[in-house]
Symmetry: C2
Subunit: 200 residues, 2 copies
């Protein structure tokens, strides 16, 4: 970087779009969670990133606005958790820094695993009014993933600011995916991770 | 988004690069904080975003690795707090999802204002080992900015995982900038913000 503009490009692979074509309607929490778990599994199967998937939906119509998968290792970017990718692309699609706009549908974030501290903060900033969680924090920590400073007070805090949290949707299915990732020797990309050279 | 790859582009304006040319060395915390406060002020003066600036430095050499300013409203992206921009560009420059790598310098994040919940989470994931704060959470909340679910336990949590926090560096100067932004009618872009049409 000298005096020129710096640029960072974030890509979501085409297969994510194929699975979650914007505007396709999903029926209920089970149906939406099935999608994001499928994205998480596909992400691992294709060697594209960690075992996490997320998507933003319109509440009511059930239409998917944007989907995301974990891109941390692939993109050398610790911010690119599945939830962050889904939220950023949803806002790009809607054309606003908040998904809460008068006269527009409310939105929800559906994630295959409980958000880490960063993603929970972004969930609040994003303007979604509902958060639907598959695997729990304990499921992620059990296979080695850090989740950061999230406490029960954190959920009370976002609830007081208009974000309802729903837990336990297809939890076992989502947690099984995390365990399968670990058992297959998947990279647990915490800050102190020491990756094999090929993964760099 | 149909079945094609989705892409999101994050730009840091050229003037940020001019102020914080990568590799330029800064002497101490005061000197580094002066830079990020200057970036925050410049961001407001140019109408480019909120009154926040941040940068990642190599510890020891004091070399700046990447700098960021708030781009939330401008980019329609709630994730683009100054800290997130600085961390993502620093990792792009280093070519890794973590700034902690054996045999490489350690890194620190210097921010004109205490990180929100999202940015504090990202601080931990980023691999920086030191966090230097100007204005405090209370200074930001006093002018209307939400900071999210951050508690004293949050700092204990990241300290236990190798991130030292230093507070109060040029706090008054940084807080005065926040107040000036509010007094000038600057946009406080919380999730429920109702922006005037021109700002959309």
């Amino acid at each position: 970087m000298t005096a020129e503009r710096a640029r960072l490009i974030i890509d979501v692979p085409a297969w994510v779009g194929e699975a979650a074509v914007a505007g396709r309607a999903f029926r209920d929490d089970q149906d939406k969670m099935a999608l994001v778990i499928r994205l998480a599994g596909e992400n691992v199967a294709r060697g594209a990133g960690g075992p996490f998937g997320a998507a933003v939906f319109e509440i009511g119509s059930g239409k998917v606005v944007a989907a995301g998968v974990n891109r941390v290792v692939e993109a050398s970017n610790c911010v690119l958790h599945a939830e962050m990718v889904a939220l950023m692309f949803a806002q790009q699609r809607v054309g606003s820094f908040t998904l809460r706009s008068p006269g527009r549908p409310a939105h929800e974030l559906v994630t295959s695993c409980e958000p880490c501290a960063m993603c929970l903060g972004a969930t609040l900033w994003s303007g979604v009014t509902r958060l639907v969680i598959g695997a729990e924090r304990d499921d992620a920590m059990a296979v080695g993933f850090e989740e950061g400073p999230v406490f029960s007070e954190s959920y009370a805090y976002i609830a007081a600011r208009g974000v309802e949290t729903v837990r336990g949707v297809r939890r076992e299915e989502a947690a099984a995916l995390l365990r399968a990732y670990r058992d297959a020797g998947g990279i647990v990309y915490n800050p102190d991770a020491r990756l094999p050279p090929r993964a760099r």
